[in-house]
């Protein structure tokens, strides 16, 4: 055998070079001096911070399948959190974009209830009066027509398909930003003749798919030609199930009154707040309290809020998954501590202090949870992209959410590791080594 004495110097040198280095034991520095004197100038045991993570990785790498399975719970929890936040953010972004394109400057004016609770009516002069307000870009009215529309004259009267017939001002599309799927909207010319425009749902219900004037429908005992079909109107969805005819022809054939049922007002966006309180007085100077004003954009914003109400529920579910994942890690770590008693004993015999053992096991739990959290964050982001793509949305996965998710996983891991780590640290060395 070779000489061992030669090595005595090299090891002494190598330990000597580290004395200035930082150590994991920052506590108890004050009392070190006295105890060092008692032990003849011995350095207390210490572990370099740089050694902590390799040590933790070793513990996990030794049992890779177990590490993988115990990290799955945290991964699922984090993936749920990220996906819920990502999908709801994407959906909100989509709604905001929708609201932006439609504009939030549309107001609807309708008759409310009068003092006795009866339905009030707007005066016929209301649209004209409203249009005279300086900041109003356009105001268009629709009004009731006491007639029903059928595909032809052989349909039983009861089969109304719940389609409402309105007369409409010719500038209605401009006010509500309605677009036509086919044909044209009513013009001052066609408004005087039996011509009509169908809302999107009404056209489907009647089975009308073209508006080139070749299709006629049976409206109030008269044949009307379909000259236009609307696309769904996002800000005025009540128009989707209507048949719109001109005011003159409505008056001529059905004696429809000039009192509007609803007035769509498009105002200068910057002055919307100023315009809104003026509308009741302009619409019905005699009884402004009977006029009801609504902001259709509110409905879209309410839809966004409704989506986030479910978000709370799903976040809670993700939190529960995370909790269960953390308990799973703690469980696996406790078993690991039992199995690794000899290793713990050897480390204590080699001079490890209880806190070195504790740090090792907490670091293992943190590493495990952080790996699970990172995988979960990626999976949650991927789920968001897939879901958004299926809805033709732009996916929104905020970076802070991803970082926070991994941060939460680290906290869960640290908490899960505390109890197993303390059990490991408090293990009596002689018992761990079976020396009793």
């Amino acid at each position: 055998m070779k000489l061992i004495a030669r090595r005595r110097e090299t090891t002494a040198n190598s330990t000597g070079t580290t004395e200035g280095g930082s150590t994991a034991d920052t506590a108890n520095n004050a009392s070190n001096a006295s105890s060092a004197a008692a032990t003849g100038g011995l350095q207390p045991s210490r572990m370099r911070p740089a050694d902590v993570w390799p040590l933790a990785a070793l513990g996990l790498a030794t049992r890779p399948l177990r590490a993988l399975l115990s990290a799955v719970g945290v991964a699922i929890g984090i993936a749920t959190l990220v996906a819920v936040l990502g999908i709801s953010r994407s959906s909100q972004a989509q709604l905001v974009a929708e609201i932006d394109t439609l504009g939030t400057n549309l107001l609807t004016v309708s008759a409310g209830s009068d003092f006795s609770g009866q339905n009030a009516a707007l005066p016929a002069s209301a649209p004209g009066m409203i249009a005279r307000i300086g900041q109003v870009i356009s105001a268009a009215a629709v009004g009731d027509v006491s007639a029903q529309v059928y595909r032809n004259d052989r349909i039983p009267a009861a089969n109304t398909e719940a389609i409402t017939v309105y007369w409409a001002d010719t500038d209605l599309p401009r006010a509500v930003q309605a677009q036509l799927a086919d044909g044209r909207f009513l013009t001052r010319a066609t408004a005087r003749y039996p011509a009509l425009v169908l809302g999107a749902a009404a056209a489907t219900a009647l089975g009308v798919d073209r508006a080139d004037g070749s299709v006629q429908v049976w409206l109030g005992e008269h044949w009307f030609s379909v000259v236009g079909i609307l696309r769904p109107v996002a800000l005025a969805p009540e128009l989707d199930r209507t048949a719109l005819i001109g005011r003159p022809v409505a008056h001529l054939l059905f004696h429809a009154g000039a009192a509007p049922a609803e007035i769509y007002v498009r105002a200068n966006p910057a002055s919307l707040a100023a315009v809104q309180p003026l509308l009741p007085y302009a619409a019905d100077p005699a009884a402004p309290q009977d006029v009801s004003i609504a902001d259709p954009a509110d409905a879209l914003i309410a839809r966004a809020d409704a989506a986030s109400a479910f978000q709370g529920l799903f976040l809670a579910l993700g939190g529960i998954a995370l909790l269960v994942g953390g308990i799973g890690i703690a469980n696996v770590m406790v078993i690991g501590v039992l199995e690794r008693q000899p290793e713990i004993g050897v480390r204590r015999a080699l001079g490890a202090r209880p806190q070195h053992i504790a740090v090792q096991f907490v670091a293992e739990a943190v590493l495990l949870a952080a790996a699970g959290g990172a995988v979960g964050a990626v999976a949650g982001g991927f789920a968001t992209f897939v879901y958004a793509a299926s809805r033709h949305w732009d996916a929104v996965v905020p970076w802070p959410v991803l970082l926070a998710a991994v941060g939460i996983a680290v906290v869960v891991g640290a908490l899960a590791g505390v109890y197993p780590a303390l059990r490991a640290a408090w293990l009596a060395p002689a018992e761990a080594l079976r020396l009793r």
């Binding site: 090299t10 002494a12 105890s35 290793e343 015999a349 001079g351 009793r436």
Partner: protein, 235 residues
């Protein structure tokens, strides 16, 4: 100077209060007022029948266990009364352990297992491995440095474990049945290795059943029922 002095040391293991152990274990006295002294550079074998307190004596000598009563002086330090922090420092710097079951860390290569002995002294990783590789070469396992314990024979594992005990330059190496899991040839290798370490000045204390180890030792302390039957006084 004596490496180890035990004066009137006794050890009583409390009865297990844990549920599930039935009949409930009553308190067991493993050592009865043991007094012995081991001088620097001795090679001492501690023998005795099973249950005679050999392992308890080794655990107390190695500061892994505190005595119930009596005085333990290790390298002049009052080990029975020092706080745990100081005992850890003593173990890290002055004592090497060898166990019957080797107790190597399964996920680490031979050289990294040896290097672990310097982990709790704050030695940087590169220096640890360098020192470990040298000691591994000294025990004749340079060619096995990159192998994990599962790839080594029992004799090789025990030589790695002895290298781990040696790498910190301890004043004393404490071994618990180091040949107990080995065949005769591997056992002889281990005895020769321990004798060689002892020959260069390190005190070696071995708990053993193996007559070959006892024959190699300079002194044999016999324990019986927790008391010293022979060999308690330094020669």
């Amino acid at each position: 100077m004596n490496v180890l002095e035990l004066i009137d040391v006794s050890k009583t293991h409390a009865g297990s209060p844990r549920a599930g152990s039935y009949p409930r274990a009553s308190a067991v006295t493993a050592l009865h007022s043991v007094t012995l002294a081991i001088a620097h550079g001795e090679f001492v074998a501690i023998t005795g029948p099973s249950g005679s307190g050999k392992s308890t004596l080794l655990a107390i000598a190695g500061t892994l266990e505190r005595p119930s009563g009596g005085t333990v002086r290790l390298l002049g330090q009052p080990a029975h009364s020092l706080p745990d922090r100081d005992l850890c420092a003593i173990r890290a710097a002055m004592i090497g352990f060898v166990f019957q079951q080797f107790h190597l860390v399964p996920g680490l290569t031979a050289v990294d297992n040896v290097a672990t002995a310097l982990l709790y002294r704050g030695v940087p990783a590169a220096s640890r491995r360098r020192a470990a590789a040298e000691v591994l070469a000294d025990v004749g396992l340079a060619h096995r440095a990159g192998h994990r314990p599962a790839e080594l024979s029992g004799g090789e594992c025990q030589r790695v474990a002895i290298a781990r005990a040696m790498v910190g330059q301890p004043a004393a190496i404490l071994a618990d049945e180091p040949t107990g899991s080995l065949d005769t040839a591997a056992g002889h290798d281990v005895i020769a290795l321990l004798a060689g370490v002892n020959g260069r000045g390190t005190t070696v204390i071995v708990v053993t059943h193996d007559p070959d180890v006892a024959a190699a030792a300079g002194r044999v302390i016999r324990l019986r029922d927790g008391r010293i039957a022979a060999g308690g006084d330094a020669t």
